[in-house]
């Protein structure tokens, strides 16, 4: 039987997420999936899973999960002070741990920086795929655990009974981590941007608003002058990483649960390599932007993927 975790306490917002449900934007369906896809892939790689496998995304205050049998887990992303109870052993982000039957994995609070931790189990989380993905679509209530966040009493099943070969307790991720509260977020100019606006965006130190959620990171700072379309453009498709400028001049960076179309001017788009940084921004964090050109974006994206492959290779080589 596949290993099982019983949810003793669900945490603030713990959902099943994989790499997302792509290809249904024309039906109004958000992509969903991990807000920090890098850390999702790290947690999975540590167990020999497909990097896109479904894991638990834990927000700020994570769950308490009791092992109903011996089970391997991997934790990545923000440091939510994960520990095994009752021993009190810490599980640092980017490492694995072996939970003995009856032990509890708890992720009680955010340490310094970062918003989201990922907990992977062997083979990924065994929930039905809906429209090709196991991610939770909160707005429409499907995917993951019945389309909702975890609750106390839920049973989390692993798709496999054991991790991949080469696995051991305490295995560290040999590659980079998503920088917590990280450096500037690199963007490319958006269809509605102009030089002055981008300069002002990049010159401002923004603060993450408490009204941010999985749909978008809302920023607070000196209001930008809205673009000539008077704050509204005809509704157009958008993607995670899209930087919108509503009429109040306070930008929004869209995240995984963003609706697939939006009516605000698009002043920038975060490059793929930096999407995980946005996904780790927590309320009160500072955020900065740096405008790059397509060549730099491409080089950074290439380097980021190469770093992942190299780290996975190092893991397999033991």
């Amino acid at each position: 039987m596949a290993a099982v975790l019983e949810v003793l306490a669900p945490g603030l917002l713990t959902t099943v997420q994989d790499a997302g449900r792509r290809g249904f934007g024309d039906l109004g369906v958000p992509i969903s999936g991990a807000c920090d896809p890098w850390s999702l892939a790290v947690a999975n790689a540590l167990l020999g899973n497909d990097p896109d496998a479904a894991a638990l995304e834990c927000t700020l205050i994570g769950p308490e999960l009791r092992a109903l049998g011996d089970v391997a887990v991997a934790v990545a992303g923000a440091d939510l002070e994960a520990e095994i109870r009752p021993s009190g052993r810490r599980v640092m982000p980017g490492t694995t741990a072996w939970l003995r039957s009856g032990e509890v994995l708890a992720l009680p609070s955010p340490a310094d920086a970062g918003a989201r931790a990922y907990v992977a189990i062997p083979g990924g989380i065994d929930v039905p795929a809906v429209l090709g993905s196991r991610s939770t679509c909160l707005v429409a209530g499907f995917g993951g655990f019945e389309g909702r966040a975890l609750r106390a009493g839920d049973l989390v099943l692993a798709a496999r009974s054991a991790p991949g070969s080469g696995w051991r307790d305490g295995l560290p991720w040999p590659g980079p981590h998503t920088p917590p509260g990280g450096g500037p977020v690199r963007i490319l100019p958006g269809p509605d941007s102009n030089t002055g606006l981008l300069a002002a965006l990049a010159a401002t130190v923004w603060t993450v608003s408490p009204s941010s959620d999985r749909r978008g990171v809302r920023l607070i700072g000196e209001a930008l002058t809205t673009v000539s379309t008077a704050g509204e453009r005809l509704t157009t498709g958008v993607l995670p990483g899209t930087v919108q400028l509503p009429p109040d001049g306070q930008p929004i960076v869209l995240l995984a649960d963003a609706q697939p179309t939006g009516g605000y001017p698009v002043i920038g788009v975060v490059i793929e390599a930096d999407l995980p940084i946005v996904g780790q921004l927590a309320t009160g964090d500072e955020a900065r932007f740096e405008v790059v050109d397509p060549d730099e974006a491409r080089a950074s994206n290439l380097a980021r993927r190469a770093e992942f492959e190299a780290a996975v290779g190092a893991l397999r080589a033991g």
Partner: protein
């Protein structure tokens, strides 16, 4: 195509094609056809995702490295240059969908004020809303949420100044010259004029969205 779409990069992971001119409904039809053609031409290619049609544009999500935005733009230009052929003009079968609707009262709390503001009685406003075949322009906002147009000018109304924090599922609503049905309970700023029990979204259906672009919708008072 009569007018060439404007083609531009959407960051490192998308290409945006924008159409100009024409009425809302006519432009949405061209957007829909454009999305269909792109889907057919690129749908099975690695790194290409299903295009997202909107009011006057199609967003084509692509992998930033393979194919990458530059290659994707070249490919889309070539697709468009071949476009005077069949695909664009051949009509497709349209689905006609009727939406039985309870108008006014608790089901449509904004109907009375809307009618009064437009100098109409409630029955007149209802009759106008139910007198038109609406085009499904595009989907967005939430799974299965279809933007329908055009609402007769006589009952057009801007959004509420302050959006509601909770709009019940099945609410039939107006914003400007568009009308829609909320598939789920959600926040919303549209004027609520009625409610239906029809399920706009059901993941267990073969086609989860009841309405898709190209369909024709009629509201039927009950």
């Amino acid at each position: 195509m009569t007018d060439e779409p404007r083609i531009e990069a959407f960051g490192d992971s998308g290409v945006l094609l924008t159409l100009e001119g024409g009425s809302t409904v006519e432009r949405a039809r061209r957007v829909h056809r454009l999305a269909q053609v792109i889907r057919t031409e690129t749908g099975s290619a690695p790194g290409w995702s299903n295009p997202i049609p909107a009011a006057a544009s199609v967003l084509v999500p692509v992998d930033p490295l393979e194919p990458g935005v530059d290659v994707a733009i070249e490919r889309l230009r070539s697709v468009l240059s071949d476009l005077d052929d069949v695909a664009v003009t051949s009509p497709e079968p349209q689905q006609r969908v009727e939406i039985p609707t309870r108008y006014g009262g608790v089901d449509g709390p904004d109907l009375a004020a809307l009618a009064a503001a437009r100098g109409l009685t409630e029955p007149e406003a209802i009759e106008l809303h139910a007198s038109v075949d609406y085009d499904v322009l595009f989907l967005g906002f939430a799974p299965g949420f279809a933007y329908l147009g055009d609402v007769p000018e006589a009952i057009a109304m801007p959004r509420l100044a302050t959006p509601r924090t909770r709009v019940p599922a099945g609410s039939v609503a107006i914003a400007g010259r568009q009308t829609a049905v909320y598939p789920f309970e959600s926040p919303g700023g549209w004027q609520l004029i009625g409610r239906t029990d029809v399920r706009l979204w059901d993941v267990d259906r073969e086609s989860p969205a009841l309405l898709t672009p190209g369909d024709v919708v009629r509201f039927v008072p009950v």
